[in-house]
Amino acid sequence: MEKFWNKHVETMNREQIRETQFDKLKALVTNIYTNVPYYRDKMQVLGIYPGDIKTLDDLSSLPFTTKQDLRDTYPFGLFAVPMEQIVRLHASSGTTGKPTVVGYTRRDIEMWEECMARCLAMEGADKSSRVQVSYGYGLFTGGLGAHYGAEKMGAVTIPASSGNTQRQIMMMIDFGVTHLCCTPSYAMNIAEVMQEMGHTKDDFKLISGCFGAEPWSDSMRSEIENRLGLHAYDIYGLSEIMGPSVSHECRYQNGLHIWEDNFIAEITNPDTGLPVKPGESGDLVITTINKEGFPLIRYKTRDICTLNYEPCGCGRTHVRMSKPAGRTDDMLIIRGVNVFPSQIESVLLSISEIQPHYQIIVDRINNSDTLTIEIEIDESIFSDDIKGIEDFQKTAGNKINSVLGINAKIRLVEPKSIPRSEGKAKRVIDRRSLNV
């Protein structure tokens, strides 16, 4: 039988969804126009005022919000409530060391918990479940996001965080874990280590896994399901909004239901910004209509997907987005962390007198993402002294780690060994194949 966390909301008819969206949108626009000068200025430039929002379709007259807006207003410039009402901050890495900061009020956390609980229920979890959260805990939204939802549901919640895989597996077996939340690549890693430890999937009591924070393919889904003996579901979210549980797959696994009582989803043409025809793919744009601390108007996620409003077999009426099929920018997702090549470039510039030729190589080795930065050695780095060269590698590695929050291997290569096309080096090689 289909399980719901909030059946009334999850199954209300399309008309009701549109009505509630319109009411919340009107309130939101008035709120940000009054309380967030940055939004007010942008609206005034376009000559849009709160009174102009007369139907839900008027949403498309509002300005987009981009990652750049978030950077320009660092740290708290887009917050819509006084700081006294903020109870938590999350942050993701930024281009020059300055992160993107998202503040949550008590009510925002409750909304997030509710969304996460709905997602877990969709997988068949309830308060008798045991949920191991193996997303990283901390500024990253994965760990705490999944944790609060599982706890809200009343499930036994195990805050395992990431790392120490052998211990994770021991807990999963000994505690009888039924639901696992982590990145899909970490799930594969768990499967590998489980085998090395001499366990089989029959030692687990796993029912389902809630996997997200990075793109993954259907073939990877089958492999995880076969090896861990569970149903693998995709969960979607982004740190700018609230991490996991913006949308999630139901057991029909034909798209991810977006919680439309909290978010309005649009698909726009990434070049023109205009809405695409129904069913066409484009940039997913999200407006958060139920967030107090850090509401976003028409945020360009840069994730490419389609929307499907057809009724779903599970009974939920909320629109389904397709699994994101790529990005409209050059952002990479490495071990769940968002990485822009420009971040790496600025680090390299800061440690070398001249901009070295470099190449970013992302690969998946033993089911874990690896980041290697190949740098062509130049006069300023090279000497007859090995220690000097190794010091350069170490400095570069440490700086990258402090800006991105992930480890990178720095490999020095010979001059002119990185291929150039039309004089310019191809900066990024992503060897992780999502279609194999």
């Binding site: 002294d385 090995i386 010979e414 001059p415």
Partner: protein, 144 residues
């Protein structure tokens, strides 16, 4: 002091052969060679008959190549001779960045150690009791 060649090499099959090929085609003779290696790369250090010509030829082939000033100390070709040189340096509190040794057909200089010293300029001012060879060694080796 004289010039040693220093070449950066990725750990790739055939890379040293590329260097020797380049030197061979320029008719440059190799007197001594050593490699310092890490997991990813190596540094090839060489004493060659014509360092300037070798640098130009290797640069032409896109190698990262530099020269470094090193010193040479002749030793007798018999047991304990290297130890004597090193004991002398230890007495003077001079430490060595790297070194490599070779033998040759030259009558007088049949056993040589190449040294790169820490703070080399200052170290050279301190050194006494051992003979230090510079460019003259290279000239002798080239003749013999």
């Amino acid at each position: 002091m004289f010039k040693q060649l220093t070449v950066f090499l990725e750990n790739k099959t055939g890379r040293i052969e590329d260097v020797t090929g380049c030197l061979a085609s320029e008719k440059i003779n190799l007197h001594a060679l050593s490699i310092a290696d890490t997991a990813d790369f190596g540094i090839l250090r060489m004493v060659v008959s014509d360092p300037d010509k070798a640098v130009a030829a290797l640069k032409e082939k896109n190698f990262m190549v530099k020269t470094a000033d090193v010193i040479a100390v002749p030793m007798g070709h018999n047991p304990g001779s290297l130890h004597k040189v090193l004991s002398n340096l230890k007495e003077l509190d001079i430490s060595i960045k790297y070194m490599y040794a070779f033998t040759s057909r030259h009558k007088e200089y049949d056993s040589i150690v190449i040294l790169r010293l820490h703070d080399q300029e200052k170290a050279l001012e301190k050194i006494s009791g051992i003979s230090i060879l510079g460019q003259e060694l290279l000239d002798c080796l080239n003749e013999s």
